[in-house]
Symmetry: C2
Subunit: 240 residues, 2 copies
């Protein structure tokens, strides 16, 4: 059943020096295939109308029509009937809380299992994992649970940055923060650099894009992943 999952997880919507979604356009169009309508989820940002308008313009350039979930009279039906969904970035806590408030998590999960194509960017990638416990975002609102969609058996850390040896900042590096997560959990974490994506097709997760990623696991050394790296066993493992 899981073989029907089609998932594309972006670290960021935009890489430095290029336009919105420009770096990912070819991957997105290849991923969407014949789907021409995409349901957009704008809940991670405060200005939903503005966000939906920006995404609608951008997808129109590539020949796609956007329906925004915040405009739907029946949000659950809109998700249930969608062929493809794009969950945009912003604040992960706000996004997840809104999905809980509208009771949408289960219908998204069910429809992805049935074959709805799922594109997430940043916060939208975070919520595809088991929990949002490796987000970089501020906890500006409190969702009832940190448990998320669990479409894949790992966590995403988007906008992953390697430690800067010249930094004078004494806060934890990203890698130290992920190590703190692994003091509490065994779920693998993929630190996705900006420009990297994870694509799941036919039960296999593959790293795509240009920037590479780091795979972090509890009590093991981090592993560098490059475009084409296959993440064995990370799609259909049992939920912990």
């Amino acid at each position: 059943m899981d073989d029907k999952k089609h998932i594309l997880l972006l670290s960021t919507s935009t890489v430095f020096g290029s336009g919105y979604l420009a770096y990912a356009e070819r991957e997105i169009t290849d991923f969407l295939g014949s789907s021409r309508r995409v349901l957009f989820v704008p809940f991670a940002l405060h200005d939903r109308d503005g966000y939906a308008a920006r995404v609608r313009r951008r997808f129109a350039e590539c020949g796609y029509e956007i329906d925004s979930l915040h405009d739907a009279t029946d949000a659950r039906a809109a998700v249930a009937n969608a062929d493809a969904i794009f969950v945009g970035g912003g604040n992960t806590f706000r996004l997840l809380k809104t999905l809980y408030d509208l009771q949408l998590l289960e219908v998204v999960r069910e429809n992805v299992v049935r074959g709805m194509r799922y594109i997430g960017s940043s916060a939208g990638s975070n919520i595809a994992g088991r929990t949002i416990q490796t987000t970089n975002d501020m906890p500006i609102v409190q969702p009832p649970s940190f448990n998320a969609l669990g479409l894949v058996a790992f966590q995403i850390n988007p906008h992953f940055v390697d430690a800067d040896p010249g930094s004078k900042d004494m806060g934890e590096t990203r890698e130290e923060r992920i190590a703190q997560f692994h003091e509490e959990s065994e779920t693998p974490v993929i630190g996705l650099r900006e420009g990297a994506m994870v694509r799941v097709e036919a039960g296999v997760a593959t790293l795509v894009g240009s920037a590479g990623a780091r795979l972090f696991r509890k009590d093991r050394s981090a592993v560098e992943l490059r475009a084409g790296s296959v993440l064995e066993g990370f799609v259909n493992s049992e939920r912990i």
Copy 2:
């Protein structure tokens, strides 16, 4: 009653290029006055024994004895009987969850109101505010609530960094994250740069230390604060 509050909130335990708590030593010894025993709260880090040992050595250099709360047979009694408490940095979610699990928030709050001196660093400063909603930390565990001690009427953002105009990172700047918080809340936020501290005495909060801070309020321009700046009305305002 609030006039008895003595609170010292550090952005960080360590500034670049100096030893643990070195930059803050003079402020801490002045703040502690005649108190010679300090109750240490190590819950923000996983290795409580190691953390307590490090803090014990450091405070011994200045003539203070440390009792670590994780060694206490009755944690609530230990807090209730303390003259001074130091809540160390680490992960804010872990710290707050542990305080909830051990039912310690109320006894800490009550004893600060009665005059127990409270020193917080980083995560320990976050939890002195109304909520932990402006922490930079990863949500590696889930506390039952984001509401914190509310010893002061503002939020701390520790390790505050100004936006780097040369950055190629496309994640939100710290200021943008705090603006997202203000889309959801009206509580003022003090972005404390590493090296800056807030000291509360006799109902007045004053910025001390070398690095300065930024005051962020909903729908208002940010204000730069320097050592000696008084934060009017930010101690005893009603909790929202």
